[in-house]
């Protein structure tokens, strides 16, 4: 037993030594965190690839900071989309002395990890976490290049109000923080636009039978129904609504803005409206799309353009401040105003992206397809937006 313990100690010591050996020199570590295992591993890998591409391009460009050529080392970690693992790997990155982090993918892992980065003074930019709380904690080190959920509600509501011109709208939510939050924003925006909103109806995130609620609403003849919740409950809701003969437009937030809606609601899903924070990958810069395809032999899935921009922002801030020290380049990062592959990027005081884009989708032939982009309160039709 004693021998075994000594053996383990020796191995641990050896690993620690190897770990030390990697530090120093002109190497600068940039971390990335996303789920690389589990149900959304494909999205995690997509995020990682975006950031990896940016780092590799920076290395190929032989960037000089403070007169020395810098070699960026990309450290990719797996948080399994699990908040507990998220904090563990965040600590691991802090201990490894990374100078900046791109990630995490989920709001649920980003929020608990953010105080660790803040304490260590390491800037972290998420390319996909949309929960407003992330940047509401007052951490100077926290940024995101994607829109917030509370910008999404106003976007879908104003699109609905201007394009479908409903007189009466019913708003339903699933009594979760996400569902209630987005439904409140939608209701506020609709009321401001002079649309009358029926008293809020509620389900839960496990409701399968919406008929009681929908029957009640049918009696009040709404022109549109907005549901704040996920596709698993939104699909049955829309199917049952059509079965009851409700002809209103059904609108959803990003939780129910998936192709799965077509499977869950069948033919009834056709024509739904929904919104997502950010832009579909097709809208990203063409050069980026080609480079990504060449490097990874696949097309980006969802947020890779955003993580690519996030990693580039870290590098550009270092160049601007002429330092790789997080304390020195952090102020430069907060003041950057550049054109990324997802459009112009500048941060507000909270670290949120100014004028983040929101995209409106509709269901066509079993797939959600983009129909409009909303940026800074202005709506552009999708066809025109892509042309630009």
């Amino acid at each position: 037993m004693k021998k075994l313990q000594i053996g383990i100690t020796a191995i641990a010591a050896a690993i620690a030594l190897i770990g030390c050996g990697q530090q120093g020199g002109g190497e600068v570590k940039i971390g990335h965190v996303g789920p690389l295992t589990g149900g959304i591993a494909h999205l995690g890998k997509d995020n990682e690839n975006g950031a990896r591409l940016a780092v590799e391009e920076a290395n190929a460009a032989k960037i000089k900071i403070d007169g020395k050529e810098v070699k960026f080392v990309f450290v990719a970690e797996d948080d399994q989309a699990d908040p507990k693992v998220g904090t563990t790997v965040a600590q691991k990155l802090v201990d490894a002395k990374v100078v900046g982090v791109v990630g995490h993918l989920n709001s649920g892992t980003s929020i608990p990890a953010s105080p660790l980065y803040n304490q260590a003074g390491i800037p972290v930019i998420s390319g996909s976490a949309t929960n407003p709380k992330l940047t509401e904690q007052g951490f100077k080190t926290q940024f995101r290049v994607v829109g917030r959920d509370d910008q999404q509600g106003p976007a879908i509501a104003s699109y609905l109000a201007t394009n479908n011109k409903p007189k009466v709208v019913a708003v339903i939510d699933d009594a979760t923080a996400y569902g209630e939050g987005i439904a409140n924003e939608v209701e506020k925006t609709l009321k401001a636009a002079g649309v009358s909103v029926l008293p809020r109806e509620k389900g839960t995130d496990k409701t399968t039978d919406w008929k009681a609620v929908l029957t009640k609403l049918r009696g009040r003849n709404p022109d549109a129904v907005f549901y704040g919740g996920m596709d698993a409950t939104g699909g049955p809701l829309m199917k049952q609504g059509r079965e009851l003969g409700i002809k209103a437009v059904f609108a959803f937030g990003d939780g129910a803005c998936t192709d799965d809606m077509a499977k869950l609601a069948g033919a009834a899903a056709e024509g739904l409206l929904c919104s997502q924070a950010g832009l579909p990958v097709e809208a990203a810069d063409k050069k980026f799309l080609a480079a990504y395809k060449k490097r990874f032999n696949a097309d980006p899935i969802l947020y890779a353009p955003f993580t690519y921009d996030a990693a580039n922002l870290l590098i550009q801030a270092m160049q601007k401040a002429n330092s790789t020290d997080p304390k020195k380049y952090l102020p430069a990062l907060a003041q950057l105003d550049v054109n990324g592959v997802t459009g112009r990027i500048a941060f507000d005081a909270k670290g949120d992206r100014k004028d983040a884009e929101m995209t409106i989708f509709t269901m066509q032939g079993g797939k959600v397809v983009p129909i409009a982009v909303i940026k800074g309160g202005k709506t552009t039709a999708w066809a025109e937006f892509v042309k630009k």
Partner: protein, 324 residues
């Protein structure tokens, strides 16, 4: 009026599915005084098996109705096997143990079945293939779909079939005899082990059909769907009088209707502004709603509590002395 009628139609459809599931609870309770909490999981497995078979057959290009029938035809024997298996392995060895032991075993079996389903069918919500073309008819302003009509008809047929089996056949007589007194039934030459096993198998078969109906109606299936459905059906069985077969049918349908009407009207009735409570939120035609329709699932349990307090033997049940 058409809103009320519609809620009634919704409630009857959901209620008839509850009734078929409740039969499984009440038959088993009637015969061995065991609340088989794993019955909800049998319903779930029925839906899942049908889901898999239907998905496999869709590319074959058979008529939709035939595919669903084959799916159900596979789900029923598999669920019967599960029902027989749990009786044989989990409950029979405990037949003479204190009543708490099989009850806790039932909860254990339920957890095991749920996790087996989790391993086979994943934790995702599955979209139950909606291949039967559903048409909506309007009767006096209330919409009713072909699927709803089919559910009502199938549930009615199953209940009638079970009633005939129990009250008009030798097997049914043996079941009722075993329910009254297993020892004496045994002395009269009835193989009570066989009768109890058959009861489980029939209950599981009914559960499988209910699972397919549930999946077709709502368009979704998930490994956790059995627990809430099972609990509601259990409430329905208690409402009608547990152990009483017509009671389970009545209880299921009643519970469905209570739920639909409750969820449909609780919002309006708990609107404080409607009752003239002077609140700031009420000004200018505002609303202050205490309980929304998300309390839908609560009604089943409210009913359970009221029944247990006011009429523990249920609507159709008779007060019986504790036999043990």
């Amino acid at each position: 009026m058409d809103t009320f009628l519609q809620q009634l139609v919704n409630g009857l459809t959901a209620g008839s599915v509850y009734a078929v599931v409740a039969l499984g609870y009440t038959m088993v309770y009637g015969i061995i005084q065991l609340i088989n909490f794993a019955h909800g999981e049998v319903v779930m497995i029925g839906a899942m098996v049908a889901f898999t078979i239907i998905n496999l057959l869709v590319p074959a290009g058979l008529p939709p109705l035939v595919i669903v029938l084959i799916g159900t035809g596979c789900a029923v024997p598999i669920c019967m096997l599960v029902g027989y298996g749990m009786e044989r392995l989990a409950y029979r060895p405990l037949r003479h143990a204190p009543r708490l032991a099989p009850l806790i075993t039932a909860i254990g079996v339920s957890i095991i079945l749920q996790h087996v389903a989790l391993m086979i069918w994943s934790r995702n919500i599955l979209a139950f293939p909606q291949i039967i073309p559903s048409r909506t008819y309007f009767v006096a302003g209330a919409a009713i779909t072909t699927v709803q009509i089919a559910i009502l008809a199938i549930c009615l047929a199953l209940m009638a079939g079970l009633a005939i089996l129990v009250y008009r056949t030798p097997l049914g007589t043996a079941m009722r005899a075993t329910a009254q007194n297993p020892q004496v039934a045994g002395l009269m030459g009835i193989d009570i082990n066989r009768v109890i096993a058959v009861t489980f198998v029939i209950g599981a078969g009914l559960g499988a059909v209910a699972g397919v109906l549930f999946g077709t109606y709502y368009g979704i299936a998930q490994y956790t769907m059995g627990s809430i459905l099972g609990l509601k059906a259990f409430c329905a069985a208690v409402l009608g009088g547990i152990g009483n077969i017509p009671g389970a049918m009545l209880g299921g349908v009643l519970l469905g209707v209570i739920e639909a009407l409750g969820a449909g009207y609780i919002g309006d009735l708990s609107d404080l502004c409607r009752w003239g409570v002077p609140l700031q939120a009420c000004e200018g035609g505002g609303h202050f709603i205490l309980f929304g329709s998300n309390y839908q699932d609560v009604f089943a349990f409210l009913v359970l509590i009221f029944v247990l307090v006011l009429r523990p033997q249920g609507l159709l049940g008779e007060r019986v002395g504790d036999r043990s």
